[in-house]
């Protein structure tokens, strides 16, 4: 990923979920982690589409697991952050902190 290129909001959430889940980061766990922590109704299709994009950008890698009975005999694909993925997360966090600096929360007002 080019240095100036920023992460989309959902991409950011997916990367953070992978970071939190460590060795156990696969599609459904990522979906559940985001849903539980943000309250968003996330679909498995959206998660896989984002994971595919992140893998194409070189921010994550994936490896195949063994099929299990609880998955109906189907295999598992787990995801891991690459060095570039970690860098992208750090950069996104720096940008966010820099933008938040000096703003008091909760923010009030706004136009109607």
């Amino acid at each position: 990923m080019a240095k100036g290129e920023s992460l989309g909001e959902f991409e950011h959430l997916v990367l953070l979920a992978i970071l939190r889940l460590r060795e156990d980061a696969y599609g459904m766990r990522v979906r559940r982690e985001i849903a539980e922590r943000t309250g968003r109704d996330v679909t498995i299709g959206a998660v896989y589409a984002t994971l595919d994009r992140l893998e194409a950008k070189g921010l994550v890698t994936s490896k195949m697991g063994e099929p299990t009975a609880e998955r109906g005999g189907r295999a598992k694909r787990s995801f891991h952050l690459t060095g570039e993925g970690v860098e992208a997360l750090n950069r996104a966090q720096e940008n966010l902190l820099s933008m938040l600096d000096g703003i008091a929360f909760p923010v009030r007002g706004g136009t109607r």
Partner: protein, 181 residues
Amino acid sequence: MRPPRAAEALLLALAGDAEADFVAGDLAEDFGLLFAERGPGAARRWYLKQVVRSAPSLIGLRMRSGELTGAVLRATLGVLLPLVALDRLWRFVYSHIPLKDGVDRAPGLLMLNVLIVLLCSRAAMVTDRPHRSVPEIMAALLAAVLAMYAGVGAAPWLYVIAVLLAAQAGTISNLWRRRVR
């Protein structure tokens, strides 16, 4: 305790070869948890909702991987080209054989057309994975409709029916093979 078959078949049809197994496995795992926590009705509704709402993303993934392009190409090669070739052949034959008044094409030759197209489309759609058949049916239908509008063949709707029957036969036989395995 199995996910609803129709919804699972739809999921496998929508997801590309690269993703179908993982996505179906992930959903099956969560389906099992929901089944135990909230009961069969809620688990089935959740599963179906996931499949339907995931459809645009899964189709997008499939297009990015180039799989849909392959399906369209196979259907075009298997259906459209034989149609065009047959049309040219029969036009040549009819130009040398006079037909009775009011008879446009001889029924025997028409049946032969249908049979050849059926065999071609069947050959183009042979696949070990049943979930690949749905987009191929759609692509074949598109190719047949294009052929119809291009004005080829004696009875375009017969071609459309033949193509659909051939594709369905492939899907059913593949699903059956998988079931008895």
